[in-house]
Structures are given as structure tokens and as C-alpha cells.
Amino acid sequence: MSAADLAGAKPLSGERAGALLRNIITRSGVIVTLLMLWEVAARLGWINTFLFPAPSNIAATIWTQSGPDGSPPYAMPMHVLRSMIRLLAGIALAVVIGTVLGVLIGMTRWARMLFQPLISIFMPVPTLAWTPVLLLLTGIDDRTTIIVVFIAAVFEVIYTIVAGIEMMNVKLFWVARSMGASRLQIFFRVIIPAIFPYLITGMRLGTGYAWRALIAAEMLAASSFGLGFMIYDASEYMSTNVIYAGIILIAVLGYLLENVLIGRLEAATTEKWGIQSER
């Protein structure tokens, strides 16, 4: 019976992969068509090429700025790398602190009383509003942008973790406790895996918010590198090519972060465990 179940699962996921592929082709078809129209319009002089430089021009800028002839050399990868480091550091902080706070709020009355009002007050504040304060506190420094990322992501992580704890079957704790598990063992071996699907959702949403907040914060609080800084700097020199290059890179990287990186994590864990289908 279950062998048949196992066999039945294979063609289904193949079908799903096929549908996904068709979906990707249709979607990228829309983008490719738009880019081609833009290219033609720019070349024929239908649109102002200062405001809307041709995509081929933007691509050429990305190419030169990625090589030794960029100003400074290898500028583009340096900007991307710096933004990524800030993002990942901030997300890592948000995941660790957000998980601990979320579990405390979900499981203890005192943490709920203490943190719930603070979170309700601070969650609606746009992350960027903190930047001036953080600048005064830490100076123009990676710490400012990392903290901005942290603030942008942590609320989502806390919220989804609390939801995950509330959805948890209390009998999972019971089973673990009747096996003689300590509090620490229950935290790492029951709570963390049980809330993992929620943590991934929180990370996905948090990464989206954090990526936008980071680019904006880099315009205010970065001194040399980062995609936000690159765009801000290019606007001083009116290099629209570089500005568009920045926008495209932000879009592509944001897409890859949310869908590929976190999608991989999802496939390796909750999809393998078949948790969605069991709920």
C-alpha cells in the first residue's frame, strides 16, 4: 500500500516540475519581449536614451564594470559582494535572535507580556527611519546597514515562529517528555525542527523586506561599496547606465535570494519530510 504511495509520488512531482518549467518560460518570455521592444525603441530614437539607455548599453556597462577596466577595477562584483555580506550577516542575526524571541513569546507568558507590546509598536516603523539614529550610534560603517537588515527581517521571523509554536501539536512535547527529554533537548530536537517550515516562510518574507531596506540604507549610510551606494553615487554623476545596472542587479539578486536560495532550503527539509501534505 505504501509502496504504491511511494511509486505514485514520483510521476506527480515530475508533472509539477514540467508545469514549473512551462511557467518559467512564459514568464521570462514576457520580460525578454519587453527588453527587445525597449532595445528597438532606443536604437530608433523613439525614447530618450539618457533617461532610458538601451538594454545592450546597460549590459555592456555591467560587463566593463565587472572587469579590470571598471572604476574602481572590478567595481560591480565588489558592490554585489558587499551588499550580500551585509544582507547575510543581518539575516543570520535576525534568524537566531528572532527564533529565540519567537519561541519565548510562543511558549512563555512573561515573554509574551514583555515583547508583544514592543513588537506591536515597532513593527509598523519603516526600517529606514532608524538609519539616522544608527548612523549616530555606529557611524558610516557596515554595522549600520547590518542592523537595518536585522530590523527589517526580525519581525517577520518572530511572527512566523510564534505562529508555528501555536500550530504545534502539544502531543509532540508529550512524546518527547515521556522519553525523558530535557528542556534543551526538547528545544533543539522537537521545537526547532517542528517550526522549521515557519522559519523558512519567515526568512523568505524577511529577506524580501531586508533586501529593499538594505539598498535604501546603503544610499544613506554606505561610504564606498554596496549596490545602493553604487546607484546613489551614479546619480551624482548622472550615469543612468550604472543606475539601471544597479536596478537590474537588485531585481535579479532579490529574485535569486527569495526563490532559489530559500527554495533550495525548503526542498532539502520540509518537502523531504512531506510536512505540507501532512498538514
Binding site: L6, W174, Q185, G274, E278
Partner: protein
């Protein structure tokens, strides 16, 4: 009721009382769920507890497991008061409650793993119960890929592997279809012989109770008390067609229906 108890105690001379409940009360807020449950379960005895739905049979099991605390009365295991859950009592739930992120093997070894038993030894001990519960070949499967009957086998193997003195079964066949259920009942009987444990099983099926247990305890509707305590004097393995078993089934069904009727008419009066 106390006469029933007196009748039961000396009969089981081969063993000593394992679990003793004296005047257990349990209330949830203003609702009194359990009025006075007094019961003694002997070592290696298989006791089935049956009663109208909502009578608090599962609550009684959770009290023995230590998940809930009684509001009054005395509850002991081996003469010591029960203060919380512990590895001396293994629990199997109707809804299996497996850890979906662990494979069958890791679900089953988790208890030993938590207790710090070495991985090879834990696996060796798990494999014995995997074989006996018919799970061989599914060690590396995740629970979501298993059928209900298989999941219940994993839950039973998981509880038996860390070697509890008492096995607590909370309507273990409730979520299974009839065919699977009949298989599982036969298997559990063999396992009981093999495991040689004290078993307390909650059920709402009279035939299940009579078929498997040494004793069937009937609880009243809420607030619950013990209203009957019937020893099933038929040697194992039991045959469903044995007429003595049918007499036991009829006897217990009669007690239970009378209690259900009483509960229903009371409910109507209140409305």
C-alpha cells in the same frame, strides 16, 4: 465498586500492583471530569478502559502518563506518586504523533538517543522492534509516505524500544480502517506476549477490549467513576468465535448502553 476491587486483587496472585489510583478527581475549570476513579493495575496485566465518549478515559491515561495532574486523590506507579512523564511509561496516541522530520528508524531510536544510548546499540534495539512490528524495509522512509497502519506500528515500536515498564495506548486503533485494525489487534497481542509489559489501553470498542485485555474496566459518563471491572477469563491467543467471549461482550455492552442511555437522558433534561 470497592467490592469489585477486592475481588480482583487476590486473584492475580502472580504479581503485585503496578499502578494504583485511589479516589482520583480531575476538574477542568468548573467542569468536574472525574469524580472518583479507584483502580489497581497489576504488573504485566493488560487492562482495557472503556466508557461513553467524553467520559474522560483519555484524561485518565494522561494522568497515568503524567501529562496532566489529578485535582485530587492519589496516583502511584510502583508505590511512588506520579509527578510527570517519564521513560518508565511509553505512550501511543490515536493520531500516532510521529516526528515528521525523522525517518522511521530515527523516530524509533529517538527515545534511546535522548537517554544517551550509543547509536549502534540504539539501532540494534530498534531493529528488533522494527522486525516484530513488520516495518523491515521501511527504516529510511519518512512518516508522510506511510499508511495509517504503518504509522501506528512506528508509534508502537517507538514506545517499546526505550523499554518502558508500562505501555499506555490511547485508542490505538481508532484512526485505522477495519482490516488494518484486525491485523494490528492480532499483532499487538503477539507483541504483548513478547514484550511482557503492563498495558493500559483506552478504547471505545467493546469487542476490541474483550478480545485483547485481561480485564475490562468500564467508566461512567462524566463525572466518571468505575462502574464495572470485568475479568476476561479466556486464555490467549483468543478466537473471535469463542462463545464465552460473546457472553463477555454482551455483558459489557449492556452495562455500557445503560450508562449511555442515562447520560443521554440527563443531557436532554438539562436542555
Amino acid at each position: 465498586m470497592s467490592a469489585d476491587l477486592a475481588k480482583v486483587l487476590p486473584m492475580n496472585a502472580r504479581s503485585k500492583p503496578k499502578i494504583v489510583a485511589k479516589g482520583i478527581q480531575k476538574s477542568f475549570g468548573n467542569v468536574l471530569a472525574m469524580e472518583d476513579v479507584t483502580l489497581s493495575i497489576q504488573e504485566r496485566e493488560f487492562v482495557a478502559i472503556i466508557g461513553p465518549s467524553g467520559c474522560g478515559k483519555s484524561t485518565f491515561l494522561y494522568l497515568i502518563a503524567g501529562f496532566e495532574k489529578p485535582s485530587g486523590g492519589e496516583l502511584t506507579i510502583n508505590g511512588n506518586a506520579i509527578t510527570g512523564p517519564g521513560p518508565d511509561r511509553g505512550v501511543v496516541f490515536q493520531e500516532f504523533v510521529l516526528f515528521p522530520w525523522l525517518t522511521v528508524l530515527r523516530n524509533i531510536t529517538l527515545g534511546l538517543d535522548i537517554q544517551g544510548v550509543k547509536r549502534e546499540e540504539a539501532e540494534a534495539r530498534a531493529l528488533k522492534w522494527i522486525r516484530l512490528t513488520g516495518l523491515s524495509g521501511f527504516e529510511n522512509a519518512y512518516p508522510s509516505t506511510l499508511s495509517g497502519g504503518m504509522k501506528q506500528r512506528v508509534a508502537i515500536a517507538r514506545a517499546l524500544t526505550y523499554d518502558p515498564e508500562v505501555l499506555l495506548l490511547d485508542e490505538p486503533f481508532g484512526a485505522l480502517d477495519v482490516q488494518t485494525k484486525n491485523y494490528m489487534i492480532r499483532d499487538l497481542q503477539d507483541l504483548w506476549q513478547e514484550a511482557n509489559r503492563t498495558i493500559v489501553m483506552i478504547t471505545h470498542s467493546v469487542s476490541e477490549a474483550v478480545h485483547m485485555a485481561d480485564r475490562v474496566v468500564v467508566l461512567s459518563s462524566r463525572p466518571s467513576r468505575v462502574i464495572a471491572d470485568v475479568r476476561i477469563d479466556v486464555p490467549h491467543p483468543r478466537d473471535r468465535r469463542n462463545p464465552t467471549m460473546h457472553r463477555y461482550e454482551d455483558e459489557i455492552t449492556a452495562i455500557l448502553s445503560a450508562e449511555v442511555d442515562k447520560a443521554m437522558s440527563l443531557e436532554r433534561q438539562i436542555r
